[in-house]
Amino acid sequence: MNLSRREQLTGRIFLIALVLVTLLPFVSMLSAALQPRGTVPDGLVWPSDPQWGNFADAFTVANMGALLRSSLLIVAGVVPVSVLIATMAGFGLGHLRVPGGRFVFLLFLLGLTLPFEAVITPIYYQVQQLGLLNSRWAIILPLIGLYMPFAVFWMRAHFVNVPQELADAARVDGSNTWQLFWRVQVPLARPAIASLTILLFLWTWNQFLLAIVLVDDPTKRTMAGALGAFQGQWGTDQVLLCAGSLLILTPTLIVFLIFQRQFIKALLQGSLKG
């Protein structure tokens, strides 16, 4: 690198400033969450007597146990099915190249930039007709459909690049398409599948619009939807609101810190391809 030392230094300073700005909202929430209950916190002040008990209060008030369970159930309903059927479709479109596949692929592409708000009204009436309103299925089923454009696009992009010879070799060995898919293609697609799983997990966990439109009961929503309800109820109690928000954030943060390498890779690739 032939960057001068001064430029390098300016760059570093900018980067550190950026890091501080990114952290500021979290630190300010923490400082408010530790103030005594019932007080109105004033800016960013480290409390003389940090009230860690506020988190315990928020845990009970927000009914965190039930919220976690609900979000996990929704993720369990959405992510495995979405990844499986998208991988199958990606295999069909990218590798088997079914006749008419181009048209179907274009059909999927159509949904890639679709804002959820544009279809939320008919989805509401459709879910109502199915009698699923206010159940977790009301979030699970539409989300699977809404994820298909990106998920199929993603998996097809992987399968298109797998050399055809590999499949030919497997076929000469006498395996059928089913075996080829599970024994050869899926193991090879593992990185693409892992990234997709991470992205879908994150988007489901953080899904807000579907949760507030289709489910009234916060304990049957996603984490983000429940957080919305929590703010509606405790919006005036800044201390409890901050403690509760931080608690609701914690599970995602823990998962993120454990899998951060994969997360960052997935998010970068996700936006690059999407």
Binding site: M1, L24, I85, A89, G145, N206, A224
Partner: protein
């Protein structure tokens, strides 16, 4: 087996496999058709009727669309979404480019990993949480006003999200915060792939930092800039979560965006037809903005 036998077998195999291949695509296509394509068609259909969601729908022709394009409030709401593009897209991409140019690459050591991890935090947390955190930062007793008072600018202190002139820019700042890290990392990653020899050559040709930026950096980062713009423009036009949480669209209609207005029209005011027409317009606006960006920035792959 002779090679011709293998080939024949492969061909036969390929033919049946090609048609039975539809079975692989079918489950995904089915879910997509039921929960996206059908609702999409219904949105178009609803948009042509006056309907309160319960009673009998009345044919409206294109009058809902006429309302969208002539009603002053609705036009203002659409305008708000475009103003948000400045904050959601231009600021993160501009600042991201600046940082990327200065840093060129983030070191791979612990410093680099920490920076990358922290800059990604806003992408990982729900937008709702970002909204709550920033509502507190920007409130009358929040950190922003605290800092202003500390440096003697207490006169500027205000309820940033509550006042007419500052509400929309404040919402914009929240979006900028969410997207800045992603754009920076994307651009720095793109930057580290540029061949240093290009800069060497530019220097030898006597190019200053500005020429260098215009002649080497910008063209090389075309694809990454395109990605950043696409992601952020969609986030701005289709914004909902942040606005819902931080301002609820107020004061007045100052921060109301199309996504929020669709939600209100459809579920509070029971004007399903108008809500759907606005949905169709929003969809079209996203495409109108995103397709040119893609066209300008995609590298020709032949």
């Amino acid at each position: 087996m002779t090679s011709s036998a293998v080939r024949a077998r492969r061909r036969r195999w390929a033919r049946t496999a090609r048609w039975s291949g539809w079975l692989w695509v079918l489950p995904a296509l089915l879910m997509y058709a039921v929960f996206v394509l059908r609702p999409l068609a219904l949105t178009f259909q609803y948009s042509l009727y006056h309907w309160n969601g319960i009673g009998v729908a009345r044919w409206a022709g294109l009058s809902n669309y006429v309302t969208v394009f002539t009603d002053r409030d609705l036009l203002k709401i659409i305008g708000n979404a475009f103003i948000l593009i400045i904050f959601f897209s231009f600021i993160p991409v501009g600042l991201g480019l600046l940082v990327a140019t200065l840093v060129r690459r983030i070191t791979s050591g612990p410093f680099g990993t920490a920076v990358r991890t922290i800059l990604f935090l806003p992408q990982v947390i729900p937008l709702v949480a970002a909204g709550i955190a920033w509502s507190w930062l920007l409130s009358t007793t929040g950190v922003v006003n605290q800092v202003l008072r500390a440096i003697g600018l207490g006169g500027l202190a205000r309820a940033w999200l509550g006042e007419f002139d500052t509400a929309l820019p404040s919402v914009g700042v929240i979006g900028a915060w969410v997207l800045l890290g992603l754009c920076t990392i994307l651009l720095v990653t793109g930057m580290s792939k540029i061949d240093p020899a290009l800069y060497e050559a530019a220097r030898i040709d006597g190019a200053g930092p500005v020429r260098e930026f215009l002649a080497v950096t910008l063209p090389s980062l075309r694809q990454e800039i395109g990605v950043c713009l696409t992601v952020t423009v969609i986030a701005a036009l289709a914004s909902f979560d942040i606005v819902y949480i931080s301002t609820g669209g107020g004061p007045g209609l100052q921060t109301t965006v199309p996504g929020l207005e669709i939600y209100r029209l459809a579920f509070a005011q029971r004007q399903v037809g108008l809500a759907s027409a606005l949905g169709v317009v929003l969809m079209a606006l996203v495409l109108l903005c995103v397709l040119p960006i893609q066209r300008l920035t995609r590298q020709d792959k032949g």
